[in-house]
Amino acid sequence: MSEPEASPAVTAVSFDDLSLVRQAQAGDAGAFAQLVAKYQGRVYNVCLRISGHPEDARDLTQEAFLRAYASIGGFRHRSSFYTWLFRIATNVAISHQRQVRRTVTLPFDPGEEAQLGRQARGLTQKAGNPSSGPSERLSRREADQLVAAALLELDEQHRAVVVLRDVEGLDYQQIADVLEVATGTVKSRLHRARKMLRERLSPLLEIE
């Protein structure tokens, strides 16, 4: 017997989320744990791309879920659960980044940043050198490093909008809901962010 065709993913997700959220609101921590299992990957990646550090992303993801659980009683289903969850995660991550930027710490290894800077410059030069042979060209991993580094050079608001759109695939309306801004703002921020990325990644774009 053939499997029945799966219903559209969005519908299934919404239904599951709805029932799980209602169970969680009724005090079923297990239901919320299912939501954690379902969204931890997405939330983690959002936090990772905004914070740039796996360790921070781990903590921020935990923080986001704990805050979501603490507040879920007040969730009124005006938006989808994951939009609401992403809003919490994004706010937590952005706040964290602002704090990090203000405190300007060089905590781990004083030479770490300098080393990263040298690496990035080396990669950029390598990417921009037209005489580089195939073996000298950037590996995919190196290119990803450059892209991730360029992303981190954006300010938090522009970074968040790029992450939500190009990493998480949210549409403008969803991004607007998450960031609580107008869709026009999303559009202009994305444009500015991509423009900045284009400039920073110009060596990569030229060899594409």
């Binding site: 609101q25 009724a26 005090g27 079923d28 921590a29 297990g30 744990a33 954690v36 931890q40 990957g41 983690y44 990646n45 990772l48 550090h53 796996p54 360790e55 921070d56 781990r58 903590d59 921020l60 993801t61 935990q62 923080e63 879920f65 704990l66 805050r67 659980y69 603490a70 507040s71 879920i72 009683g73 937590v92 706040s95 964290h96 602002r98 704090q99 405190t103 300007v104 710490t105 060089l106 905590p107 004083p110 290119a143 990803d144 892209v147 991730a148 790029v162 759109r165 190009d166 990493v167 403008y172 559009k187 994305l190 444009h191 991509r194 423009k195 284009r198 990644l201 990569l204 774009l205």
Partner: protein
Amino acid sequence: MDPQQREKLEEQISAYLDGELSEKEAAELERLLADSGEARQVLGEFERTVSLVRGLPRQQPPDDLYEAVTSQLERAALLEPTDAGAPARSALDRWGRLRRFASVAAVLVAAVGIGYLTITGNGKGQRGPAKQEAELQLAEADRSEEVGRQMQVAAAPADRSEADAASDRPVRARGIALEQSVSKEVEALAAAPPETATPQVQLPSKAPPPPARQPVPKPVSGVVERVASALQSARRPAASAVERGTKTADAAKLSEAIGDRVVPLPTQAQQVTMLVTAQRGKPVWQASLELSQALAEEGVTLLPVASSDRGAGGRAQLYYGAGYEVKADQPGLPLYRFRASPEQVARLSNRVASVRGVQVDVQGTGGETSDFAADTEAEESVLGRQGGGAPAGQQARQTVELSKGVPARSADVEGVALGMPLDADSNVPTEADEAAPRRAGGQHLKRRFAAGTFETGTATTQPAPVAHRELTRGQDVAGVPVEMAEKLGAADTQPSQVAAEVEVTVLIRSLGQQRER
């Protein structure tokens, strides 16, 4: 194409790549793309840029992330008896329910205690009346206020006028002492009362089980006095800082025994340090969860500290208390940073202080003026009021002294920056010094430097490496120059806003002692 047109074109192309243009807009753009090589070039560049970002590999979350989150949820659920909508229920409600059961339990315990004393101490002829009295009290158990009054009269006569006057006070200041003093006796009752049924926690994980509930001690002789004393204490007006310093011996003893804390409101401070000292184990994570929930309910802007500040294990260890076990004379480790109003800070502090086995000390620094170095008396006065009592005043004085001096060591810097009380012998290097550079808040430092509150020339020791980009740039920390402010960016040199909100740093530490059984 002029710059404005090009800007508009780029924005349209960006949206076009996302499929966010209307049909009409898309058609117009496509016509332009067909005609303009420049437009096609922009499209190509944006397309490649977007594809590079979209090509970033998705990272798998750490294997232990799910377990870490759900184990915390499990504890949160256990701590938060739920019914409909319960996760949003405030801890105040929970404490309210607990108080009702505490009142009932107090009567039960008192009845047992009275009976016990009657049987063992007063000899013949008293057994019957004692039983009747106990039954009478039990019958009126739901009238907890009245029962409390009876208890006071029966076992520890109190100033009724004071008790009556206090009955109108905010509920938060009351009840904590009651809850804490009788909590051992009521724990079994409070654990699963009909209306606070423990939720069904069935997390699909291998989350570690919560620590075993402490055994409930049997009532012993003297419990009547303790209960009555607790009731009396609970009816006392909220102790001001001054009153706290002049507590009666009995009240002080009770406070010491049950950890009665009413955290004073921090006022006129820019930066506030909330030092949470908990006994190892349950109180640590209970306090952190209470705070976590309170923060969510207050809706404060959370500024998480870096994971590196929390030790190797991060928050995961916190809930077992292991990661925050430090000596009593050492500062705690940063748990949260956020901005909040002084009233919120007071509410948050009292919430955390309501957890048994947890002590909260709130100190403010920064004053309402950024140049408190020029007016140390005012600063000391401010800090003294915040700290409350002689010990706190002493701490405040020390803080001021250190604030005036050059932060010779990063530990001093940290202590001052975070408003930590430092001991008189804090010039002795400690283990904490090594970790200090990681925890020293550059933000605080910069503000201090910007405000010119540090004087130069009094450093006596070589500085430890400081985790501050500007400071390490050819500068000697010991000779922190006032002109450093000139090297800082405009944004960095802005002192935090005064009055409306304070920046709060929550430090938590576990003293490594098991809770008294």
